[in-house]
Structures are given as C-alpha cells and as structure tokens.
C-alpha cells in the first residue's frame, strides 16, 4: 500500500478544490467545545480526522516543562479533556500539520515538543524511522511534505498537507479494514482542520485538492469520488 500511495503522490492534481465549510472559533474553551461536539455528532462508520496546527493552535507557543498546563496548551484543561475523550474512539484520528518547513528536523522538533515540554505525547504517534521522516514531493507542482507518524510539516502549503493526510488516511484505513482487496473502498472521511492563522485556514478551505488517479488495491478508488468533507476552523487569537 505504501508503494501505491507513493505512485498517487506523483500525479497531477487537477480536480476542483474540496468544498469546505469555514467556522470561526473564539475564546479559550472553543477548541475543547468543538472537539466534544464533533465526537458527539460523528457517524459510526466515518473516519474523523482531527488536524491541528501546532504553534498557537494546539500550544501557546514556547513553554518549558515547568510551565503550567494553561501556559503550554491553548485552552488548557478543557482542550486536554476533549482530546482525551477522542482516545476512546478508534475512528477518530489526531494529526498535527505545522507550517514549519517540510524537513526531517521540523517534524522531529515538533515530536520532541509534543512528548516533552507540551506533554501531549499521549494523543499523537511520533515514532518514525529516519527514512520515513525524509521529505517527499507531493503532487506535480513541487509541494514538499515531511512527516513522522502523526506529525506533518508542509510549510505554508497546508492545502497540500491536508491532501496528503487524506490520502494517507484513506490508504491506511482501507488496508486495515478486514476486507478482501477487491472489496476495499474508502470510508467516509470527515476532516476537521484547526489553525490560528486566518490566511492558512482560508487557503486550506479554498485550495485543497485530492489526487486524481486511482489507488491500486482499492475499488472505486478515484480520490475525487471519495466521500470526503472538509471543515476548516480558524481559532481567532484576538480577544
């Protein structure tokens, strides 16, 4: 499946952008409240993809291990409790998509912070080999992405980051499903992307396109035909 996904990643992306719903969030409890609402409303068969920008969205910026929870994590205890609630549901996946440069050192740095000063390691897988962390070209327009397990870095090309995340989610979800290869289809995917930058959020809402070609080993697998819905949340920093 890894080889299949790699072949798709090299394709030209000519499909129209995904239609997205834009939602503005405000206030320190907004992320926790929204996650709780998503968990409550999700359908059992769907894959729920929660994608968080890192700096100033999931976190409050620089913090030391001695910083308080409220200083480290934006929304503090309320955010943590909502994230913990998602752990109980296998169909909910948590990812980080940072605007840091798409390099091995970027994803390793975020992984280090998640597991260290931010103490958020229980919510995100970060273990990956050096080979897996190497940047790869996505699409035919030169977009570069690096990732270590649940941590993705795409620079400011976050639309490509979301597209790659969806592709990875589809291929992994289909492979894990207990079905024969010829019966594998992409499950409904509901993507919820959170960012503190209105420009990044806007670009994701208006420029995210999926690969156009078939994914080997999956039926009905033309990505534009996948049931993917995108909701973009701008978590406003202004108070």
């Amino acid at each position: 499946m890894k080889e299949a996904a790699a072949s798709v990643k090299k394709q030209a992306f000519s499909s129209p952008p995904l239609a997205a719903q834009c939602v503005r969030l405000s206030g320190s409890r907004a992320l926790g409240d929204t996650i709780a609402s998503i968990v409550a409303q999700r359908q059992p068969e769907e894959v729920t993809l929660l994608v968080f920008d890192f700096d100033k969205t999931l976190t409050n910026g620089h913090a030391s291990p001695t910083s308080s929870l409220e200083q480290r994590v934006r929304g503090g205890t309320h955010t943590i409790e909502a994230l913990r609630e998602t752990l109980a549901t296998p169909g909910i996946l948590r990812k980080v998509l940072t605007a840091r440069p798409p390099t091995k050192s970027s994803v390793e740095s975020v992984a280090l912070q998640l597991n260290g000063s931010m103490q958020l390691g229980e919510f995100f897988a970060t273990e990956a080999s050096a080979e897996e962390c190497a940047p790869f070209e996505y699409g035919s327009c030169g977009a570069m992405i690096a990732h270590a397990a649940d941590v993705y870095a795409s620079g400011y090309d976050k639309p490509s980051g979301i597209s790659a995340l969806v592709l990875d989610t589809c291929t992994v979800a289909a492979a894990r499903a207990n079905t024969k290869v010829e019966e594998r289809a992409c499950p409904p995917i509901r993507v919820h992307f959170f960012d503190d930058s209105v420009s990044n959020a806007y670009r994701v809402s208006s420029e995210t396109v999926l690969a156009t070609g078939a994914v080997p080993g999956m039926v009905g697998a033309l990505p534009p035909q996948w049931d993917v819905q995108l909701t973009v949340y701008w978590w406003d920093l202004y108070v």
Binding site: K56, G61, Y156, S197, S199, N200
Partner: protein, 76 residues
C-alpha cells in the same frame, strides 16, 4: 543573524512580536517563529487577508478595526 535581514524598525517589531508570542528567540525554532509571527503578512497579499477574514464571517469594517497585533489566550 536577524540584523542582516531586517531594518532597525522591523527588528524592533520582530523582537516585540517574539515577546508577545512567548516564543524563545534563542530556541532552535527561532527562524520558524520569525516566519510564523509574520505569517499573516507573508502567506498572501493583503486582499487574501481580507478575503480570508470575510470567509470566516468578519466584515471589512470588522477587519479594519482589528489591530495588526496578536494576543493569546495565555495572556488574556
């Protein structure tokens, strides 16, 4: 390093934004932080910023009233 790339005025703003963002300028992520605090202006032209605000339900009047600075929940 920064003084090679910025005028005095922009360097002052850069330091102020660092302080406001609580990002440690001495950290290995300082270069990223610089890009990030300037991200709203760097990501796209001004019309994109206005379009972005509008897409998320803020009118141009609302947008114009917003000072070009950042706050955070941690400091609220």
């Amino acid at each position: 390093m920064a003084s090679n790339r910025f005028s005095s005025a922009s360097l002052i703003r850069y330091v102020e934004e660092f302080e406001e963002q609580s990002i440690n300028p001495a950290s290995p992520d300082a270069d990223f932080a610089l890009a990030h605090v300037s991200g709203e202006r760097r990501v796209g032209p001004p019309f994109m910023y206005q379009s972005a605000l509008s897409a998320f339900g803020l009118s141009e009047t609302d947008a114009a009233a917003r000072a070009p600075r950042y706050t955070s929940d941690a400091k609220a």
